[in-house]
């Protein structure tokens, strides 16, 4: 069950990043014909991120303490001390940005260059932080793996 929870978290996170790339490209080519799709996809970004966040939050509070003990006793204690400590607070920024994205996308993006620039910057930050969070997650998972292998 724990593995399913973790995979659902990773899947939602990847879907969030991929959907944000979609929004970014669509906004670069914003027109009246794709404006409704940009708004729908911006909402999808927020939904995917909230899913990833809630799933991860449940896992972090109830299941992670066992993995944390394995990591700290293993050869990669930095996987918790640096990468998890960073990730658990960095994803809050990601949650804020993804929640803001649909709000910014309510502007008339086809006609308003200022609004397009705001959405592009926010989407760019989401992609950057999203990829960072995915990398952090990979290192944390590897920290557990090398901790178990060292037993």
């Amino acid at each position: 069950m724990n593995e399913l929870i973790l995979m659902a978290h990773v899947l939602s996170g990847v879907a969030c990043v991929v959907t944000t790339v979609w929004v970014f490209v669509d906004v670069l080519n914003a027109s009246p014909s794709n404006q409704a799709r940009i708004r729908r996809m911006s909402c999808a970004v927020a939904v995917f991120m909230w899913l990833a966040f809630v799933i991860a939050g449940y896992w972090y509070v109830f299941d992670y303490p066992a993995d944390k003990a394995v990591i700290l006793k293993g050869p990669w204690p930095f996987a918790h001390r640096f990468f998890m400590e960073t990730k658990e607070h960095l994803v809050i920024l990601l949650l804020l940005l993804t929640t803001f994205l649909p709000i910014a996308a309510t502007n008339n993006l086809a006609a308003n260059k200022d609004a397009r620039r705001v959405v592009l910057w926010v989407a760019g930050l989401i992609i950057l932080l999203g990829l960072t969070a995915e990398g952090d997650g990979g290192i944390i998972a590897m920290g557990v793996k090398v901790g178990l292998l060292a037993r």
Partner: protein, 101 residues
Amino acid sequence: MNTEPAGLSKYTVSFGVALALASVVNGLLVIAKEKSPAVQAAMQKLTGSHWVTHVVIVLAVFALFGWLFARANGGQGIKMTANHLIRAIVAGVAAGGLIIV
């Protein structure tokens, strides 16, 4: 002739500034928890997890200040150019991120 409308909706500006503010609050809470075991213990006591309390505080700051900023200026919301809003968001997220790292 440029016929593009200028300006952003009041909710874009209000929640954009609230996002920058909440990002910095997020970083400051990390410092407060690390420097003061009493703060961490109090946050732990509130919800059973200091991290859950942390998330609730940051989201509350975002929602509350976004709403308050939108009600400023007699309900017209705070005014800001797109350039200033982008700078505020990037600076807030960068500052919040750097504090965490």
